[in-house]
Symmetry: C2
Subunit: 189 residues, 2 copies
Amino acid sequence: MSAVTGTIDNGVDTERLFATLDLIKEQPALALFQFRATNRWISGAHNRSTIQGFHGAGAEDTTRTEAFVLDAGEPEVLLGADTGPNPVEYLLHAIAACLTIAIVYSAAARKVQLTKVTSTVVGELDARGAFGLDADVRNGFERIAVSFHVEGDASQAKLREVVERARERSAVYDIVTNGVPVAVDVTTG
Amino acid sequence: MSAVTGTIDNGVDTERLFATLDLIKEQPALALFQFRATNRWISGAHNRSTIQGFHGAGAEDTTRTEAFVLDAGEPEVLLGADTGPNPVEYLLHAIAACLTIAIVYSAAARKVQLTKVTSTVVGELDARGAFGLDADVRNGFERIAVSFHVEGDASQAKLREVVERARERSAVYDIVTNGVPVAVDVTTG
């Protein structure tokens, strides 16, 4: 990995990327991040998350002046009014987005100029699990398949290496393949 | 669980819910669903997913006339231009949305009228993992905490039971706590 100065590759400021890595090496506490979403039920399957604040790089973020608002729902066949993607579709988007960012950053660090990155993510589930109709069927996806198409100014082998490196470094890929402990707390009013 | 006819509870058509469950019991293949997201890189961390088609209830869905479009990105401190929530924030939203829908459906099936469901989901990670700076640090969240506040016309014990049932039946909670195999395939152009 050679040092790159003052250039922007794939829309990534690689000078800043390497400076960030150096800073974290010196002060590992800067790498601690806390991300958040707050959600409110509207009606039926319709609910809405607001995403704005997060803690990272040693401070609470102040750069986001507006919140991102995400509406979720279920399609008709799953008893909703199609008010947004459903939760498992949001999860597929999270996987695609995370692997894509990891590919782009990884390519930038290697001075590989990308011209195209597209992907399709497919997840399969048996709704008897979530509906509680069969204890032998899990609630979530049984399997997920991600298909990437990547183009750039490097050899096929190099482009494949970039994707492999991204898979090894993606936060959401790690979460979804390895699992994370989730604590659920309830207050009632 | 008593049969409910012709009523809508919490915005959920419970008559249709029970009819759906009966239908799936008779024809389990109707419960097989395939969900999809297609993603395209734009620049830097900015990428966009399109979500529309899915297969379920024995057919390809035709009710969604327009696609949902989701923009992802990274905040400045993670080398993006804040073009959307980042992938791990989308994942937190997916957890909140899925547990909320499971709470609402579960309450409707039990004739519990809800008046409020809000939640905050918090995930903590050490970015040294995803940046490849420490092999002992995982890429994804080390832990996730979900805090629900639920109000309705039932006892505290009953409301807590509804949340517990939702946790047991949520697809995304299952995926994130237990993990799912993810296959990654690459073509280059």
